[in-house]
């Protein structure tokens, strides 16, 4: 199969884009990165190739656009089968997809309730977010990674959010480590991987970004 050119419509702070970059790095696939200016104005290419959601990431491969980060990671795993991200066993694959889906539905939105709120709502957001992390901690159990001994699909789907945790911690007045030590340990473990260390931005930089974004939105 001809592998062809790979291009990514990207935004440095987007955890969803980070997923794709980590997956590509895990597979040893080079790509052309194109940063979208989400505040200055989305590019024509983005609006044309993702008219429904108008969101990054968009992966181009052989001239075709693949949308939605979790779907893109699955696509990458299927097109470049070496170093598989999903397990082989169908039941384990179903479990991986299940947890990826929960992470998709809950984590970013949960975190947003902390930094997008003021006053009492922040406390509520913090409590709910910690509950979500505890649920994930339950799924992780005593394993090194969500899939077991190896870094894989669910880890890729989840780890980018950790670059936003400092922002949540500062705005929410808590530390993830105090409530979910296993998740903290898992984060440190993942950050030792070259693909993750290379892709994840400095959490301080993300915190500054969130602060600027809050000011733009008139929050606080």
């Amino acid at each position: 199969m001809a592998k062809g050119e790979v291009k990514l419509l990207d935004f440095w702070a987007s955890p969803f884009c980070m997923r794709v970059k980590i997956a590509l790095a895990e597979k040893g696939v080079e790509h052309e990165d194109s940063q979208e200016d989400l505040f200055g104005g989305k590019s024509e290419l983005l609006l044309k190739t993702n008219p429904i959601h108008q969101k990054v990431p968009v992966l181009f491969h052989n001239g075709k656009a693949v949308l939605e980060s979790t779907i893109i990671v699955g696509y990458i795993d299927e097109v470049w089968p070496s170093n598989p991200l999903l397990p082989t066993c169908p039941h384990a694959r179903a479990q991986a997809r299940f947890w990826a889906d929960i992470i998709d539905k809950k984590v970013f939105e949960g975190g947003a309730k902390i930094w997008q709120s003021t006053g009492e709502a922040v406390e509520v957001g913090k409590k709910d977010f910690i509950e979500i992390l505890k649920q994930l901690e339950g799924a992780l159990g005593e394993k090194d990674y969500f899939g077991g001994d190896s870094f894989g699909f669910v880890d890729i789907i989840a780890i980018p959010f950790s670059s936003w945790f400092l922002a949540y911690e500062i705005f929410g007045g808590f530390k993830v480590e105090d409530h979910c030590p296993k998740i903290s340990a898992w984060i440190k473990r993942c950050l030792q991987r070259e693909s993750v260390a290379k892709v994840l931005p400095d959490p301080e930089r993300v915190y500054e970004f969130v602060t600027t974004f809050r000011k733009m939105q008139g929050i606080e």
Partner: protein, 261 residues
Amino acid sequence: MESATNGDAIGILEQLSYQNLLCPIGRLYMILMAKSDLKLVGRWSSPFVMRVKIALNIKSLDYENFHETLNPKSDLLLQSNPVYKKIPVLIHGDKPICESLIIVEYIDEVWSSAPSILPSDPYDRSIARFWAAYIDDKWFPTLKSIFLADEEESKKQYIKQLEEVVVRMEDAFLNISKGKDFFGGNRIGYLDIAFGCFLGWMRMIEKLIGLKLIGEAKCPALAKWAERFAADAAVEGLIPESDKLIELYNPLKLKSKALAK
């Protein structure tokens, strides 16, 4: 291999079958064992449960139906889906699988030699998954909102929103089917299942509002697709009748605004 480590014979056979390493006798044993080892926790009225039933029918799989009362939720449901406590749950042997589209993929992967449900090409798979996610995100919630809306004005707003979704789906169908009968090509596939499961609900709402949501005028290709889908052997008998749905859901609507799956 998780199953092999547990010394689970079915698990080992699953693995070998999945890797196409099983001999014909082994495959036959797999099919015989697997057929008696499936339990579906669900209700006749749930479009999400219907997705799983269609997939099981495509693969000609027998299964035990466990009718979930939902109010209160059964111990089986609470134990097999502790996270969401929602139907459908497919229990294969002693392993529960949750979330309708994840279950459909699981069925397609375990019973990989029967007619395929997902496309074989990775790009086509990504397209199918994208539109299935869109359907779950936009189609069903808007359909439900039309049903639940009390005021005419909000009903009209939701109907307008749904009409926009229909236009997109008509376009998607024309692009994906490439002139064939279904999203999946000559046979129904993943996206047909993901979308077609809502036909019963859709017909019920059309009856209540006196308006066609997927009709010849606005979406001729989808209208014909809907007829073909409903007539497919794998779908036969599964689309709930409008009157029965109205009978079930109207009292629930009056009691509470939140509809269980």
